[in-house]
């Protein structure tokens, strides 16, 4: 049986006060876990709690020793006017360009503000996905992606990634159904 990367029990998280939880699950290497639930249920807050991005009010998070986490957050700073290429962006997080879709692989030498919104979003997502990490946390990864990007992401996630565990928060039920090996409901 694959190694347990994350064991979460009774997790309650929030900011000034608790806003989400309780949540419990176990994630093994090679699994893709979906966090589903209605808007406002606190899925993104719970995802952030897994790496310490928000305050934990209750419960327990047990991580495998030396667990390397990569987190793709919702919403990005506007990068218009910043002279950074796609290749430089991937280099920052240590992401490999191997496996990029052909419609993006040939444009890595261009400035980010020369890419379409969908291409830029996919590249930012890729910078968090294709990194040497044990656990990848994806928060609404299909937001602002064009159709080609969503299809490529679903295909990439659907292929076996035995070396990593992935937790996905998404309102896109099609993506959750297509790629997740297990789904945990988060109550409102």
């Amino acid at each position: 049986m694959a190694e347990v990367l994350l064991r979460v029990t009774g997790l309650v998280a929030g900011y000034a006060a608790p806003v989400a939880g309780p949540l419990g699950f176990e994630l093994r290497r090679g699994e893709i876990l979906g966090l589903a639930g209605p808007n406002g249920a606190g899925k993104s807050t719970l995802l952030k709690a897994l790496w310490g991005g928000v305050r934990v009010f209750g419960g327990h998070i047990e991580k495998a020793p030396g667990l390397a986490i990569s987190h793709q957050a919702q919403g990005f700073d506007d990068l218009r006017g910043v002279p950074l290429t796609g290749r430089e962006l991937l280099g920052l997080t240590g992401a490999t360009p191997d496996g990029l879709p052909p419609w993006l692989a040939g444009r890595l030498g261009e400035r980010l503000d020369r890419l379409s919104g969908g291409q830029l979003q996919f590249l930012r997502l890729w910078a968090c996905l294709a990194v040497p990490a044990d656990l990848i946390l994806l928060d609404e990864p299909t937001n602002n992606l064009d159709r080609a990007g969503v299809a490529y992401l679903a295909d990439w996630l659907g292929r076996a990634h035995s070396g990593q565990g992935i937790v996905v928060v998404s309102h896109d039920h099609g993506l959750i159904d297509a790629v997740c090996t297990r789904v945990v409901e988060v109550g409102a």
Partner: protein, 261 residues
């Protein structure tokens, strides 16, 4: 007009001092602009100016007072981490500096020199300090580049990995404060600010990559500075205002949209 002065050995040390700083300041400015903190450069310059005046009144070397004041400003900025901190520092430095100038006969002359830029009166000590600053700051900036860029593009990168990027970001604040302080006591307040602000503005618009942007901003800084030095010396004008005007004309000639600055 007397452009023969450009060949006078007397002006070699001032020219080289300014040239080193004109290469360094735009590099700092690239990252300040990235972090939406370019106004911090003006706050550092104002604080350095007030510190230099205070040091002169106290009988200390002006360069020491300027550097210490800018380092205090950098620390305060790092600890407060709020844009309003820059404005408060600028107001404090401006008020303190003007009061010193108004109440101390020596400070009046030095105050004008700091505002206008006293580049022609810089000596070997300034050149040595500028050389050391370049030798230390450029490799440090290269090392800090990744955390600074990640801080803007992926602010959660280090925390998600259980690492704390704040010490490195504070180190950047310190070297930015130090560099701007050195430039302020050599080039003047507004010339130092102009060299931090304008070359990156043009480089962000035209560079094809971050690396190219760094190189372009340094080239623009050195080019603009050299033209300013020649014009101010040849026409017997104060260096600081000439430098500011030349750099702003560069922006205008590059047809940059002021609404996007």
């Amino acid at each position: 007009m007397n452009f023969d002065l450009l060949l006078d050995p007397l002006f070699r040390v001032p020219f080289l001092t300014g040239l080193l700083l004109a290469a360094l300041l735009p590099l700092i400015g690239m990252y300040l602009r990235l972090r939406h903190e370019w106004l911090a450069a003006l706050a550092f310059a104002q604080m350095a100016s007030a510190g230099a005046l205070l040091a002169m009144v106290a009988g200390w070397p002006m360069i020491l007072g300027g550097v210490l004041a800018a380092l205090v400003a950098a620390l305060a900025k790092g600890l407060m981490a709020r844009a309003g901190a820059y404005a408060l520092m600028m107001l404090l430095a401006w008020g303190g500096g003007v009061l010193l100038v108004a109440n101390h006969p020596l400070a009046e002359q030095a105050g004008h020199a700091l505002f206008d830029g006293q580049l022609y009166f810089t000596g070997d000590g300034h050149l040595l300090a500028a050389g050391i600053a370049c030798a230390v700051v450029v490799p440090l900036l290269s090392w800090l580049s990744r955390p600074l860029l990640l801080g803007r593009l992926f602010p959660e990168f280090y925390r998600a990995r259980g690492l704390d990027a704040r010490p490195r970001l504070m180190l950047f604040d310190l070297i930015a404060g130090l560099s701007v302080a050195l430039a302020t006591v050599s080039l003047g307040v507004m010339a130092a600010f102009a060299l931090v602000f304008v070359p990156p503005l043009v480089a962000y618009r035209f560079a094809r990559s971050w690396r190219a942007g760094m190189a372009l901003s340094a080239v623009i800084g050195m080019g603009g500075y050299s033209v300013s030095f020649a014009v101010s010396l040849g026409l017997d004008q104060p260096f600081g205002p000439v430098c500011a005007v030349v750099l702003v004309m560069l922006v205008a000639s590059a047809s940059l949209d002021p609404s996007r600055m």
